[in-house]
Symmetry: C2
Subunit: 292 residues, 2 copies
């Protein structure tokens, strides 16, 4: 399957899995941000990994969609006035601008448990042990040891509050706020495909490097991109004196580091012969090389 | 065991299950509200049901504590300025008053997935199928089909927005915002004790009636109680023109209805000979009869 086909499949399933019922407001609020056009990178990487490892990718659809739900919940809460206070997301008004803050908080909460509920209710062809392992990985990635940990350190860094030094703090943010969901996508794919430990570790290394590259790329884009390209407010990091790779090491160093990490990703993944992973890596390289 | 011993056990385990690690702020914020002295009704009822059904209550400790985590997460998010805007909880400043709004949102989020993580990591003597069933019940109770559904309808009722009529709306709120966690406590206890369907249904009926009684009791207390007795701001429902049993049917009708539901609870539970359930029901009856 091509990238576009996988994205279409994810969009269809996200729509199918979440029906609008009573009380309408909450389901509409959940569905609103979930339906905004996104790159669907995390679910696509989960599905492609399962396919690459020789398993039917349909088996992974509930898990892939659950990871997108988790990602979207983090975006909804990130955009809140008490957090990053962003009025736009994926080119449209952010959730709380449309539904109000209370509904945005609750829609995020609801997605956070609807994701594992979807894995439990919609998965087919997996054992109870496999589903339990997937959900365990999900809870570790979503919580204070994962995403939320990264998020709080990110917020505190804005206020120049550091428990550790700046380099360590930045690395912690990248791993926990960003790489964590790519690792989850690929780790759960390995559980679904019942992959051996060696391959799982190798692919986890790939996900970690890709996640770091992706966050640096995002930091670079915050400096050199436009609202039209990114669909969100640009230049906010610098304004908020956020700790990012570009503010700490400078723009040119950031570009070099990102390209180096992408090269290391190639070194791991190329032998699997995945056109989709080549395409994902290629797009980032191309965009950065245009700039250079 | 006596009620006090069960509460002590729950408090000890809640403290043990959640260690403070890096990044400290998030763990301190989670632990702050979790550690506030509460009645621990939901975990106590889960443990007592397991004991009553002849199973070792230790088996249920991770699940019981997870349900309290879910309850506490709902309190933290409920108290936010964009929701009920409450400055006090269990007699102390609410979470966002101590840690700020961003940390309070994130602490709630973190608890929402730390609860199932705890069930997975700390449970002993349960099969993968049992744990998966418990987590499935957890996700249904926590999300848009449960707690969050009740919460959004409750908030909309303040703005006099009703998709259904007032009586139906109030009943929906009581069942989804309040009864849902008592039902979860007792349903998961039945899964742990591998109880037959008939008993499970009977105890679910008890939990539903108790939940409704408890919400009406809470509505009554909001009118006749004090900050000192309840540990939270009193008289807010009337002020916010909230849809409650007392505002819809009047105080005296609310007291009669609550006492009737408690009587129906006795009719179901008395034959199990549980001193703890007798004590819980007795306390509510005594408080309401003092008022009458």
């Amino acid at each position: 399957m091509m990238m576009e086909e996988l994205i279409k499949l994810v969009n269809e399933k996200l729509d199918e899995y979440l029906e609008i019922k009573y009380p309408q407001t909450i389901f509409e609020s959940m569905k609103y941000t979930l339906s905004l056009k996104g790159k669907r990178l995390r679910p696509v990487m989960c599905l492609e990994t399962v396919r690459m490892l020789g398993k039917n990718l349909e088996t992974a659809l509930p898990t892939a969609c659950a990871i997108e739900m988790l990602h979207v919940q983090s975006l909804i809460h990130d955009d809140l006035p008490c957090m990053d206070n962003d009025d736009y997301r994926r080119g449209k008004p952010s959730n709380h601008k449309v539904f109000g803050e209370a509904a945005a908080v609750l829609a995020g909460d609801a997605l956070l448990t609807y994701a594992p509920q979807t894995i439990i209710e919609k998965s087919t062809g997996l054992t109870a042990e496999q589903i339990l392992k997937i959900i365990h990985e999900y809870t570790k990635a979503a919580g204070a040891y994962g995403l939320i940990g990264g998020q709080i350190v990110d917020i505190e860094s804005e206020k120049q509050h550091f428990e550790k030094d700046k380099e360590e703090t930045l690395s912690y943010i990248h791993i926990h706020k960003t790489a964590v969901l790519f690792r989850l996508a690929i780790k759960t794919a390995c559980i679904i495909a019942a992959t051996n430990e060696e391959t799982t570790l190798e692919l986890d290394e790939f996900a970690l490097k890709f996640g770091e590259a992706f966050q640096i790329y995002d930091d670079i884009m915050d400096e050199i991109s436009t609202f039209e390209e990114m669909g969100k407010t640009i230049g906010k990091d610098k304004q908020a004196e956020k700790l990012t790779y570009t503010t700490l090491y400078g723009l040119e160093n950031a570009i070099s580091k990102c390209l180096l990490l992408i090269k290391e990703c190639h070194d791991i993944i190329d032998k699997y012969g995945s056109e989709i992973f080549e395409e994902i890596l290629g797009k980032i390289e191309k965009r950065l090389n245009t700039r250079k």
